[in-house]
């Protein structure tokens, strides 16, 4: 890729004034404090200040901004809510951050055909809120769903705790409207099944904002379950709980969710929310069954029995929807609660075959001991998607080094047992160096060839996903004047 030269002050001013003419002056942010607020997402380890942020309101405005960037050779980066955990929206080469935060309308709801179309900046939870009263929801529910946008979900192919039964984002998207990196607007898919041709929608979902900027999303709506049984099973040891996970799956039961929380985070959650969680338990399992009322009690009884057979100390069941909501709040805010355990926390993301859970969790414990750091676990046990939370102090450079090396060892471990380097958070910047653990040079070359089909000029979200993106000379697009 060609290095992008720093721009002069007049060039910058000219860019800003053209941007203002597209989106309006108050939708162009250049203030130093504002720029710093956008210098990273939730992956705070690597920061890069953008040159400017724009807040368009329509697809046409996004397209005009992109065309301007192409004319000027300026990199641009799409950004939803900035809740991503791999640096997917960090402007590593400077340039324009195109935020979708003002594109948050729900455009069309068709309950009869179970379709909803929303702008990309619409918050995930708002989709469900729009249809819940009629008995439907948008199933993919990442823990950040109160803030993250559906466009961001598309970029990362986000998951959440209910993917075991309901799948991930890509199983629920039927159509997209997007601005390609040359500024062209294109519609992919639609509302009907199987539009003839390649599954471009499926290809764009999970492409981490490197194929263009999605501005509208058409989703599949799912009926809300009639009934739930939400259980909290309390175990003395992590091993007992992982064996329970295996036994539940082996019994042919497919829970809607199967989440594990270990002692350290349990204690933090209890201190934060006072839910009556036992602080001395080795681990707890949050098990949710859903479906029609008929037959649900029998299924819950079978799950209870499996827990009991694996020496569960106690199995509680949510008695009301408030109870259920409280249990889920504890799970979804668990990592936030763990924040009180140390000055800094980084949440890893890896996937392993479920059957390897016991040995992998034990090995993660060994890794933690060997590096002298604390690691706690809260994660989607049902699909083997681990989230080791590493507790440390980022002001201690030696500890930071140990945390980074421990993280690398965990990723190697995941791959060694037949898993993957990311289940939900994506590659972004964070895991570029780990890509060769999974992919051969031929695999990576194929993916880069696909990327060039969409993104010939390498201006759209550069520096992400591929090791080759890093090896180029990193020259940021910035004005020569000390603007930033």
């Amino acid at each position: 890729m060609s290095a992008v030269l720093p721009a002069s002050e007049p060039e910058l001013q000219s860019l800003l004034s053209e941007l203002e003419s597209i989106v309006g002056a108050e939708a162009v942010l250049t203030d130093r404090a504002e720029l710093r607020a956008y210098d990273c997402d939730a992956y705070t380890v690597e920061k890069a200040t953008p040159t400017v942020i724009v807040l368009p309101e329509t697809t046409e405005q996004v397209a005009a901004v992109v065309r301007l960037c192409c004319r000027r050779g300026v990199p641009f980066v799409p950004r939803g809510a900035g809740t991503g955990l791999s640096g997917g929206t960090t402007a590593v080469r400077g340039g324009v951050i195109i935020s979708t935060v003002r594109m948050k309308q729900i455009l069309h709801v068709d309950l009869a055909n179970r379709r909803l179309t929303a702008q990309a900046g619409c918050v995930n939870l708002h989709l469900t809120k729009a249809v819940a009263a009629k008995g439907y929801h948008y199933a993919p529910d990442p823990s950040s769903q109160g803030a993250c946008t559906v466009g961001g979900n598309v970029a990362e192919n986000s998951g959440g705790p209910h993917t075991l039964k309901y799948g991930v984002t890509t199983n629920h998207i039927t159509g997209l409207r997007m601005v390609l990196p040359d500024g062209e607007i294109v519609g992919l898919g639609g509302e009907a099944e199987d539009p003839p041709g390649y599954d471009l929608v499926g290809l764009v979902v999970g492409s981490e904002g490197t194929f263009g900027i999605v501005t509208e999303v058409t989703v599949r709506l799912t009926p809300l379950p009639d009934a739930y049984r939400t259980l909290l099973a309390i175990f003395e040891t992590v091993d007992d709980s992982t064996r329970t996970v295996s036994d539940i799956i082996a019994a042919g039961i497919l829970p809607a969710a199967l989440e594990m929380i270990d002692q350290l985070i349990l204690q933090a959650i209890e201190d934060a929310f006072h839910l009556g969680f036992p602080k001395d338990a080795g681990a707890v399992l949050l098990i949710e069954l859903d479906g029609f009322e008929a037959g649900l009690d029998e299924e819950a009884a079978r799950v209870r029995e499996i827990c009991r057979q694996n020496r569960a100390r106690e199995v509680r069941m949510a008695a009301s929807s408030e109870d259920r909501a409280r249990l889920w709040m504890a799970r979804k805010k668990g990592i936030g609660a763990a924040g009180r355990l140390a000055p800094s926390i980084v949440t890893q993301d890896g996937v392993i075959p479920r059957s390897k859970l016991p040995e992998v969790l034990r090995e993660i414990g060994d890794i933690a001991a060997r590096y002298g750091i604390r690691i706690c676990n809260i994660f989607h046990a049902g699909d083997g998607n681990l989230h080791p939370c590493v507790l440390f102090d980022e002001r201690d450079p030696d500890e930071v080094r140990r945390v980074v090396r421990a993280g690398e060892e965990i990723l190697h471990l995941c791959v060694r047992v037949g898993g993957s380097i990311t289940g939900e958070h994506g590659i972004g910047i964070e895991k570029i160096d780990a890509m060769p653990l999974l992919f051969t040079p031929a695999d990576l070359a194929l993916m880069e060839r696909i990327r060039r089909v969409f993104n010939q000029g390498d201006l759209c979200n550069p520096g992400k996903l591929f090791p080759s993106a890093k090896s180029c000379v990193e020259v940021k697009w910035r004005p020569r004047a000390a603007h930033v």
Binding site: E156, L188, G291
Partner: protein
Amino acid sequence: MREAAGAHGPVHGPRVEMAADGSADFALNGRIPAGVLRPKTEEESAAAVAWAVDARMGLVPWGGGTEVQHGNPVASPRWAVLSSELLNQVLDYSPDDMVVTCQAGVTLAALSERLRSHRQFLPIDAPHPDRATMGGIVAGNSQGLWRPLFGAPRDRLLGLRAVMADGQTVKGGGKVVKNVAGYDLCKLFAGSRGTLGFLTEVTFKTSPLPECCRHVVFRAQDAAAAVRAGLAVHAARLQPLYATVAYAGHVHLCVGLQGSAAAVAWQADRVAEACSEEGLAPSDEGPSDQHLRILVADSPAPVKLRFTLRPWDLVGLLRGLEALGQRGAGLTLAAHVPTGIVAVAMQPGAPDAESAVRLARAARLQVGGECHLVWTRLPESWRPSVGDVWGPTRGDFPLMRSLKRALDPDGLFSPGRFVGRL
């Protein structure tokens, strides 16, 4: 006559020979390939591709041949069939993880047999599971009756390996149920109809065998009433395995239910209520689930169509199709209500090619909203009237064309067969 497939000069490493005898069994659109290549391993598959590139020969990947006839004619004067017949091993099955990996030529029946011994199954329904291969099922994204509950094969495909036009073997995805590393090559290959590469290996997530299965049938006065009953079942937020209107002279609504005995029984009652309100009566006659599965697929009718549209637009489409019936064409039809997919088999009576095509297209236009029409079978003499069997290309076609050119610049794989003659 046999040609050796291998590198130029002395052959080192794997080679696979092209067999010319028996080629007539692999005819496409009335034309016979130069021969058939049957690699036994991934390495032989790569050697076969390399040979075809050298020989300037098109390649048509071939699984069980159950859906390979769908498509435009091969746009190459000479081509060979690349068969997955000998890639027939199940490689890796972990019941605890509910993940299975097999070579692309394993049939759905063989795989299902293996999974059944662990009380699991792959929720993919095919008219002829004893012939349909897993690679072919991915290439066609083929799902029969069970789509309302289980989605399409692209939703269960976790990973794959394929030989590309440059002879490289690549992988996509992995062997775990959740994975967002890199671009989603599984979605790229699913439904790509053998135009991007040759699948050698595929990995799927399995499901536990259900406790209970039921197939209930209702007789309707006409197709519109049956569709309305199916829509009522859909609107009641029940979870049918399928709710399919079958028309073959008489009209029936067939509903499949799966799950715990209690949930199935409860849903069966709700289904009966919804049907009764639309004037449908339970029926002992009407197609069994096996008959339903092959109703259109096994019809000897020479013309077959597939429409996809929004469920509530089905009534409009059926009204449009009635015009075909009024012109003397014998129609057999399976309308999958919750997913808006309609398969039609047509025995042309009075209509000639031109009028049949016009009526089919008019039926599509009768539908107010989005509606796709694909001709999945037609007499060769009808091709000039039908044109591209996949229908008109849309605004995203340039992207598709660029993808094909990037991955298969010389048009090695199934040239001309796909949308827009890709």
